[in-house]
Symmetry: D3
Subunit: 190 residues, 6 copies
Amino acid sequence: MTDAAISRFPVPALDDLPEDIRTRILAVQEKSGFVPNVFLALAHRPEEFRAFMAYHDALMEKEGGLSKAEREMIVVATSADNGCQYCVIAHGAILRIRARHPLLADQIAVNHRKADITPRQKAMLDFALKVSRDSRAVGEADFEALRAQGFDDEDIWDISAVTAFFGLSNRMANVTSMRPNDEFYTLGRG
Amino acid sequence: MTDAAISRFPVPALDDLPEDIRTRILAVQEKSGFVPNVFLALAHRPEEFRAFMAYHDALMEKEGGLSKAEREMIVVATSADNGCQYCVIAHGAILRIRARHPLLADQIAVNHRKADITPRQKAMLDFALKVSRDSRAVGEADFEALRAQGFDDEDIWDISAVTAFFGLSNRMANVTSMRPNDEFYTLGRG
Amino acid sequence: MTDAAISRFPVPALDDLPEDIRTRILAVQEKSGFVPNVFLALAHRPEEFRAFMAYHDALMEKEGGLSKAEREMIVVATSADNGCQYCVIAHGAILRIRARHPLLADQIAVNHRKADITPRQKAMLDFALKVSRDSRAVGEADFEALRAQGFDDEDIWDISAVTAFFGLSNRMANVTSMRPNDEFYTLGRG
Amino acid sequence: MTDAAISRFPVPALDDLPEDIRTRILAVQEKSGFVPNVFLALAHRPEEFRAFMAYHDALMEKEGGLSKAEREMIVVATSADNGCQYCVIAHGAILRIRARHPLLADQIAVNHRKADITPRQKAMLDFALKVSRDSRAVGEADFEALRAQGFDDEDIWDISAVTAFFGLSNRMANVTSMRPNDEFYTLGRG
Amino acid sequence: MTDAAISRFPVPALDDLPEDIRTRILAVQEKSGFVPNVFLALAHRPEEFRAFMAYHDALMEKEGGLSKAEREMIVVATSADNGCQYCVIAHGAILRIRARHPLLADQIAVNHRKADITPRQKAMLDFALKVSRDSRAVGEADFEALRAQGFDDEDIWDISAVTAFFGLSNRMANVTSMRPNDEFYTLGRG
Amino acid sequence: MTDAAISRFPVPALDDLPEDIRTRILAVQEKSGFVPNVFLALAHRPEEFRAFMAYHDALMEKEGGLSKAEREMIVVATSADNGCQYCVIAHGAILRIRARHPLLADQIAVNHRKADITPRQKAMLDFALKVSRDSRAVGEADFEALRAQGFDDEDIWDISAVTAFFGLSNRMANVTSMRPNDEFYTLGRG
């Protein structure tokens, strides 16, 4: 499996990348022990890579009403609904680690309604899936349902933006046939 | 997690079950090291349990043009499409074991088009998903596509019957909120 | 019409069938005056035939909170939604007979909301159609709606199981192009 | 059953209707032996009634490349897809009579792909269903498929217009809960 | 652009048309300054033309609980949902003029939920879209929602009939590739 | 209309914004004569604003195989499909200007198949809509269809990325109820 292509598009060699991108990739490699394929696949377009990573960090690294594990739940649920193998498998691993729960990612990927999560988290994922599938129909009643679970307007923006950003990511991963690293499948299952 | 309910419906104690059902359950426990929850959940209705297991064995234990791993691929792909947590997680484990491939089940559950399987297997899963979602539209052109991949008519019956039987299973698991045993999540990942 | 094929797959001659299957078929012929084609088409696979019939009888011949006519309503409504000609036409006939109502089957096949049935029966069919189409989304609110109409948990299992079993049957009938006997079209219309 | 309401909206008495409408209704009663409920339900709005009937006659009574039975096939197939009880049951009867074939209507209502009709008629119904469900996507390839079966452009207009007109009729029948006369269920089954 | 075909089907010359149709077309030309292409495209079939126009006038020119602008809102919303270029662009112009509001038509065509209209008008369009897409499911709850906004039963008939009639029109315009006149794009934007 | 809220979320005053964002907004105001509301609505989150604009510019301002008008066609077609009022109306204006064609935007928003564009552009929009709706199913056959129209792999990335990025934008605009400036409705119609 290690020889399988990680993208339908050309994948740059690390040495050919602009300095800032190579530095970021080496940092993630240092931290994770491997380079997640999304970094290499998207580096084919350096300008877009930079914007993608800046957007990602603005949404996923910030403080706020949603825990980091909850943000990963949104990624897993909406990416599964979009049929995005890379995001379900890579962010499934991150969710297992951040939630310290080895079962959650697989449960949410198949059917969040039956996952070991709170009613508040189910409402969060119901809303995320509506934003993903049918954002035109989002309205005040959806906001009320979230407020009833204790979410405020900034949380609602966060849920929406994480969904919308990974919707972008899902579409790029599907078109490029981005392949998840083998490492992700077993991370956090221990 | 071990205390979570495995079904919305009453789950019989082993000792209260008819002899033939208890014997079967003890045999699977002996072989697997645990009792898959589907046995306990469905034993609520002994007559239906017996028919279910007889049907299962007729389709999944027989010889034929489809390998046992291929039959499990069908289960995983169609159960994911039906949002059935029990079947994706339990049969994902069986698929990993039967195919001796730790990645296949997760790949197929999210998007079989990008899984490490052959074009023949992709055609098999395309057909299974059509039978699952829109069997009214199945016709000669679908059969031709399968024959072009080397499947004969008995194989086509097998693909259809496995899909149809697990469609039944998916619906019962979803209505009963059947919970996969924790053991399944890690089986075959080694 | 009498010469039309009843299945895309080989149909065994009665004399070539195992004794138990031939006996069952002769019994139904004795009772009905003809052999419903489903018996002949499925007899192509004796093991599956036996499991299918055992499952069928466990669900359709038992006592319980649903009348036999109500179980046939479920078959007709969900089979029509699945585009299964055999089941709509054959079980439409059985429904007319069991309900002693010549119009119900055609009404339910097109739109159960406008059929001459009770609000309780409409709720039953609403639920059956949800189990058939989108069982992943079935949840507590659906159960509440059924309980409000007087259904208990065993009834809910019955509605679900009849739907799930005939979903299997619909898919096999569609793949095999199983043809309803001409006799069914007029039975019970008198 | 004879006391059931035939429309959610007021149904005028024959004597209260404008002369031209009463005359038309008496003529159809003379010919058929009963007054099809569509006449009474739509007579609530005389201007719309007149336009509806003029449109109907322009499409269904004219000569042309489609036989009258074929036009009724279109009505039955598209009305079933729209869940219109009145049109499926009333025009099912007319189809049985015009085609002198007691099985066709029920077959087409459930799944035209498996009906006892010609490949040309299946292509006609495939196109009609596309016009009914997704007319925005109709294009040159659909026209080619029809021409390959011997349909010319005027036939294509006819198929489309019959579909479009009964789409109107289906929506009005569904909103008004228009009830088919009991007589229709058995007509032409002999 | 003025040379682009206005229909896939033959378009009659004014002089070749029956007197009553030519007179109607000249009258609309006199009033509007141009002949809307729908008149020429549909005149290919004089009988259907007459019924179409009679139906149109019965619904759109009558008095009643819906203002003329509101009827045009229904046309724009449902025609956009059906992907009908002619009706969205031509009736968008008429809506701008009748509502004396230059933004409404574009807003409603994309998403009526965010248009500058009243809650009553949003409920009207919600219902119209349900009649257009899924009339089989229309029922008492929909009527209640409309009554809560002050609509009476005759208004409900009007909303339904306008939707149903333009559903017919949308399908014919899509099949004929009816082209909107260039003039419509800018009318009423001033 | 000028008083209508432009977002459900707080909209910052220009003077409260970080210098780089204020500068960018003043530059666009200088160039366009007004501040498009998307700048103000998204400035509520400065980090996300910067990433959004960097991504936008990387995709929309670059050179490449797609003309700037073609990129706007993608935005209009996919945003209409997502029901995003802001993007259809604002980018409709930009498309009219960049294509120097006053009709294209309205045509594409309703049904790109009938717009005054080339077969190559129709294939581009067919693909963009598939990426938007069902990216999981994108595969080699889609790429072949684009190559047959002269698109190369970098163009395919561009079409996909523009679609994916505006899918993000559509979801944020729908959740925030972002309102298009009145100016956009008439720009480029002259």
